[in-house]
């Protein structure tokens, strides 16, 4: 089982499973502690300059946008960031917060490539891009969530994606098959937006789960924002719906419309007009700055941000939600 190939990308977040275990033993209370706080408090407590951070699900879908904007507002620097992103990572790139990327996909989906990503990478502001597939980055979190140092995959083999990653190729000792080994990814901080949580952090999600299960179990600090805060009795009534148990969680933020301008399944649809405004303005650095001035720096908090759109628009988004039928 020799190493047949090693990707030449940097492991930008080295890991130590025994140290992670020790962290989980000493820094994560098993008691039901009230963790309800504001975006400001959560981000200032648990997101630090230089930390390795990730967001879930992505940009326009169940994304922790109120938290992502707060990260920009607090000007956290030199972030190392993983994964796929649309609006949330775009904001960070445009605001110059990002130093290194474990990148899978950053773009504007139907609206094409991301000018913010291009500017940040082509100018050298982002110092390095280590490449992974969407599957691979999630499996890296799944490895950490399982408490093991790596997971094998048949993705990435034979490609430049592997060459510019930090994966290693070996032969499976049972059947002789070649597989890529993906190193565990333990984030310093993760931001996840959910449908419902209690004040201790027990969370329920509706619709697709994206990679919430994996990311919540693969981070040292976890900030949850939730559309709704529910009594713990509601959690205990449906224990089979708990995707993220409280002991994984460090902060719970009540953020109605927290995914705006993205959508929230069964709660509200996406705000196409607001999305297009970012697409249009982010084409130039000046436009991106003007957008940030208006929607991030220019407001105190998430409520003031929502006030810029007004109740009629938000009601309209509720009307356009996906329904169970």
């Amino acid at each position: 089982m020799n190493i047949l190939q090693s990707g030449r990308g940097e492991l930008i977040q080295p890991f130590d499973l025994d140290e992670f275990r020790e962290w989980n033993r000493t820094k994560k209370s098993r008691k039901l502690v009230d963790k309800l706080m504001s975006e400001q408090e959560a981000v200032s407590k648990f997101v630090h300059d230089g930390c390795y951070i990730g967001t879930e699900l992505y940009g326009t879908v169940r994304a922790p946008m109120s938290l992502a904007r707060e990260v920009v507002r607090q000007g956290v620097k030199d972030l190392r960031v993983c994964g796929q992103g649309v609006l949330e990572l775009d904001l960070w790139l445009a605001a110059g917060l990002v130093k290194k990327l474990d990148i899978t996909y950053i773009g504007l989906e139907v609206y094409g490539t991301s000018p913010s990503l291009r500017r940040a990478v082509e100018s050298g502001q982002v110092e390095s891009c280590v490449e992974w597939s969407n599957g691979a980055i999630t499996w890296r979190m799944k490895a950490a969530a399982m408490g093991v140092p790596f997971l094998p995959t048949r993705s990435m083999l034979g490609t430049g994606t592997l060459e510019y990653s930090a994966a290693k190729v070996v032969r499976d000792p049972f059947t002789g098959l070649k597989v890529a080994l993906l190193p565990a990814l333990i984030l310093d901080a993760a931001l996840i937006h959910v449908h419902r949580a209690d004040r201790y952090g027990n969370c329920q999600v509706e619709g697709i789960s994206g990679f919430a299960f994996e990311m919540a179990r693969a981070c040292k600090r976890l900030i949850i924002s939730a559309e709704e805060i529910v009594p713990t009795e509601e959690i205990r009534k449906y224990p089979d719906r708990t995707m993220i148990p409280y002991y994984l969680v460090d902060a719970v933020v009540h953020a109605p419309f927290g995914s705006h301008p993205g959508e929230m399944a069964y709660v509200y649809g996406r705000d196409e007009t607001a999305i297009k405004e970012w697409v249009r303005m982010s084409k130039t650095p000046e436009g991106a700055k003007a957008y940030l001035d208006k929607y991030v720096y220019g407001v105190e908090d998430h409520q003031e941000y929502l006030d810029l759109f007004g109740p009629a628009r938000l009601d309209q988004l509720i009307a356009e939600r996906e329904r169970r039928e």
Binding site: G107, E109, T113, Y164, G210, F211, Y266
Partner: protein, 255 residues
Amino acid sequence: MSEQPYSKNELMICVAARLFEDGTTCFIGTGIPMLAAMLAAKTTAPNLVPIFEFGGMGAILEDLPRAVGGARTFHKGLAASGICDTMETAQRGFVDYGFLGGAQIDPYGNLNSITIGDHDHPKARLPGSGGGNDVGSSCWQTIAIMQHQKRRFVPQVDVVTTPGYLTGPGAREEAGLPRGTGPAYVVSTLALMDYDPGTRRMRLKALNPGVTVEEVVGNTGFDLVMPGEIGQNAPPSAEELRLLRKEIDPEGLYI
């Protein structure tokens, strides 16, 4: 043959839609593949099972999804799961087709969506490998959708983001990719291509209406394999156009 005027995108969507086989599972990405899947489901492939990478499986596509994680990707779906489950379903051999895009494609169907120029000091930073690499590794057959331009059909892609046949016959298997998988078609703005089974190189299969072989060759940066007989893609039928314009994309986002 329909005499109605139609756009290049409408034609691509129709050519792609006709490739869907009924009763198969298919990974669908944002944009053209979504429209093609919807058109196929309403015409020749009513039992098509669309799979979206972040968890939607078996949705009834009543309204055009705008994101691969949006609620429309699991609207009345049979399952709403997560990305590990969908990718592992593909890795287990349950996904028949995958639709892919890229900035560059080469004769072996390898795609690039990472960087143009040197990786570490790129001329252009593209979005990244995304789910494309997983789709190209694990689905049984992949179909690429491309603008047909010389700068996109290149002899060698700057980075292989998504594996096609890599360096030719046997190369996928040698790399460890699952047996029997690989690119099947390229749908471009000019023509439909498949791959020569012997050399695994891209082969012209059928021309779009009004397009000549010379035009295809002139817009391709490498030698296409030329078969004995070159087919013709039928233009969009009146019914296809009606479905596209009235039911699938009434807001005209793509067509």
